[in-house]
Symmetry: C3
Subunit: 137 residues, 3 copies
């Protein structure tokens, strides 16, 4: 059994940004030499998400609009009493989830035709990280 | 260490349908011979969910009603400019999640008394798949 | 490859309670002897969540308020026809998620500086359990 770890780094230009990391994750899988197993892809921050869905710009716009509706960016969150202004970003992290576990078969992401892995930055313009941990045979 | 993969197939009669797949997942675990480990149960589509909750028809009705409230089916999503009409189903996928990792102890799902694994179809009446990947000793 | 399982027990004093279990999970990892791998941390109940976010009391208050907004505790859920009164708690479980998989590197949770693991009790004042299953080298 092999276990291989790598990190992806981000420093987005906009506060909210959706980055397709599918190819980067596949590169880490390639480096691991794992043919059959799983990869954990997990944001190391509490104001970012990792999810699997479609690489379609309209949908990405819909996701951000919808997040703003159910957890508004401009609300007076109690968390802001600490001096922070990113209460919404913590809630978006809870909705979207900060991690996925993805299946690997024959050395490749065992995905359906439309599945893509996204890093969803909710409080960017600063250095952030995602851990990719691959386990398997 | 063993690694075993199988796929469950669905073609639901209704556009929205909740299918209890607990027994099917246990059958894959049985085939794997894994006594101690984990199984990743993951939809291979971006308009379906996999979750663990109660096998109670009233609750399943509540879940669907609630999803319709927080991400309506009849809204004019930007995603629909591609010709699709299933924007809501992508958002439901994000809320519910498209995968779970379930624990295996002594060859059996190590679950609490009410936990059941569901495949939640949000855009059915077509062929869909769930991957079940079992890893362990 | 090692596989090690332990259970955390809860019996909260309040119906809703957020318990930081990061140290408890690290203790299980220590017991496992795993240096490189993953731990599955999963509630064995359908009215509780497990998530990773900030240990900040204002934010925890925000999370509970927000859950009450998008899935009210006092709504007449169809699930209540079974005699239950915890329909909301099942929906909160779906939003927050009932499990996380956390990465282990050099025997330690490979986390960003603010990440903490929480057990979120949504229907407490009774005995509950979380399974921690550690796999790796």
């Amino acid at each position: 059994m092999k276990c291989h770890t790598d990190y992806l780094y981000f420093n987005t230009k906009k506060r909210h940004e959706f980055v397709n990391i599918t190819d980067k994750v596949q590169e880490v899988i390639d480096s691991s030499g794992v043919q059959d197993g799983m990869a954990l892809v997990s944001a190391m921050h509490i104001t970012a998400g990792v999810y699997v869905n479609d690489a379609e710009s309209g949908l990405i716009h819909d996701i951000e609009s919808w997040l703003k509706e159910i957890a508004p960016t401009n609300k007076n969150y109690r968390h802001h009493m600490t001096g922070e202004d990113n209460g919404y970003a913590h809630l978006w992290n809870l909705i979207v989830g900060h991690q996925v576990t993805v299946p690997i078969t024959k050395g490749t992401l065992d995905f359906g035709p439309w599945q893509q892995i996204y890093y969803a930055e909710f409080d960017g313009i600063r250095k952030k990280r995602v851990i990719v941990k691959v386990m398997g045979l």
